[in-house]
Amino acid sequence: MVKSVGPENNPFEALGKPPEKLPYDGYTVSSTYITMRDGVKIAATICLPKGLGSGEKIPTLLYQTRYWRAMELRIPFRWIFDETFTNTPTPEIFTSRGYAIVYTDVRGTGASFGTRPHPWAEDEIKDGADVMDWIISQPWSDRNVVTNGISYTGTTAEMLIVNNHPALKASMPGHGPWDAYTDLAFPGGVFDHTFIQLWGFLGRNLDNNNASMFRPVLPAGWLLTKGVKPVETDKDLSQLKEAIQQHATNQYVFEMIHDKDYYDDTLPDGTGIDAASVYPRKDKIEESNIPILAWCSWLDSGLVDAIITRFINLKNPMIAILGDWNHGLRFSANQFFPDRSVTPTPTERVNAWVNFFDICLKGNGIQGKTLYYYTMVEEKWNKTNVWPPEGYARKLWYLSENNTLSPSIPQTDSGADSYRINFTATTGRLNRWWTLLAQPIDYSNRAKAEKKLLTYTSSPIEEDMEITGNPIITLYIDSTHEDGAIHVYLDDVDEHGNITYITDGQLRVIHRKISSEDPPYKIMVPYHSYKKKDAKPLVPGEIAEVKFGLYATSVVIRKGHRIRIAIAGADKDTFAKYPAEGRPTITVHRNKSYASNIDLPLIMKK
């Protein structure tokens, strides 16, 4: 099926409109502890539609978070916001449309008891089943549960499926990883030390109920809250105190992995990094046949590829959505229209979620798989049932002399450019990785930033070109050092020389081997195992092939614009430095024998 273009491809319209008349107005809030199979108590906040009739039964949205299910707000804020107002969704829309909501603190966090060895550990996943048992035993429950979330909570929503609980009818994981190593912690084998370290700092302080930590990093949060909300029966706070004491033995990701290099490195508890990944649970997810609505953004870290990977690997009925917003959908991230407000609005978004759940619970359900994706510059939604969309082709652009990119392969036997790695190179603190901390995305400084990089720019292109999918870069390099990281940026350059970031990717060169083994799941880029047995330092002075995928994107390069790639050896504010010592010089070979190139995925319009 050739991809179809048109307004009907907007997923928010495709999911339908909210009802004109809402069955309920307002909601009640209560809280309780739910006891798990092993005695651990999980804190839950329950929101029910006001005016629920006696004997009336409704479905429940289960939202499991590690970021405090409810907050003890300071004055005057608790006079105008309820304790769940920082969750996504807040209760208003779901309850007005006839859903109960149960928000929980996952074990080892918030006001819940227990301890956590790592994110999404087995006990945490099983707790979801115990919570669902509790939900369906409540007098207001119709025994149907749906679940959603964004980021961490998106993954708790996906992992809930693994339990194969008969009550669970649909899941909506938003902005969630598929493979914790490649999508988040070590993209391209390069350690995302900033996010992992800051996330660990956030988690540790949340788990210790230390709201003062917000002051330097999120001062608005410091003004708003003094900590997690205790369960309402815990009047003397003794249970909260005891729960927090149990969190003291929590393990945090940064301490566990910051000194690791390989995918198959073992963590202190004997597991590996993929213990926190979704993909090892693929069979159980498929066995459930639970319909899934998964969504993310082209500019969200490595999570963009997770959406595509999920789409091409899972057999579940699925709607997948890829937009142009930041992590969490609070800001537009479209670098071509930086002043635009984000769409959909929060209200439109939440109503779309409810519509999806209504379709699954009361409608005809979801058939097959559909991926909706937003093409930037074209500024249109498109949809496809296959990936890559049909009508797609690939075109190579070769690195050429005078720092150009050419559609023709070089004809010379020699041709190379040397670049001494500049370790001050950076994409700043508003990039696709910092957005994991809910930051907006701003790559507007590329012109200045790329002065430190090695760049290649094409001539103006002769007709509009749509790039949809994962670009793949192949560089033939030699280096003065055995280790390093290669970061490659793909940009659009307009008629006035303005540079707009499109996408990027990176690879630690010791992981450059393209494995002959089957990857653990289908992927759209060359397969690097990142395992110890496949790692190989460079031999200084010896040419090596470094080939990897850039993150998927969908953008139109206009006629008259130019394509540009920029090569760096570091991204100071985000990634670890390789090598730890020394300053390599790399030579990029661009000649007939070593034709370094970028392979662009193009879509031919109908």
Partner: protein, 121 residues
């Protein structure tokens, strides 16, 4: 963001009504609305923190603070007219100032909180 902050300000203004009795040196904050009604309205130290951090009350003004959880009222009693007027001036502008603080923080200007001290809890 501007819209959200305006909504935020209008919620504060609509939920909190301020009465001032200059003759008896009293300011009363009446908290209306149904949100978190069963919770403790406020502790005295929270009121002082709010006036200082959000309101910008830099002086240590002596006041008696009485909280009526049931009636949802906070009564501030002063010893002299000068003190009342200092706090009244802060209360009259506190929501505007609160929104301004959040707006500045949203823009990345964390210096807006420099020198305000810490919460007392």
């Amino acid at each position: 963001m501007a819209e959200i902050l305006e909504l935020f300000k209008s919620k504060l203004q609509s939920v909190i009504e301020v009465d001032c009795d200059e003759n008896n040196l009293i300011i009363i904050l009446n908290v209306k609305g149904e949100i978190q009604k069963s919770d403790i309205l406020a502790e005295p130290h929270e009121v002082k923190d709010m006036l200082r951090i959000l309101g910008g009350l830099t002086e240590d003004v002596s006041m008696e603070i009485e909280i009526d959880n049931k009636a949802r009222k906070i009564k501030l009693t002063f010893q002299n007219k000068e003190d009342l007027e200092k706090v009244k001036s802060v209360v009259d502008n506190i929501w505007e100032r609160t929104i301004h603080i959040f707006d500045e923080l949203e823009k990345g200007n964390n210096n807006i909180l420099r020198g305000v001290g810490d919460f007392s809890d």
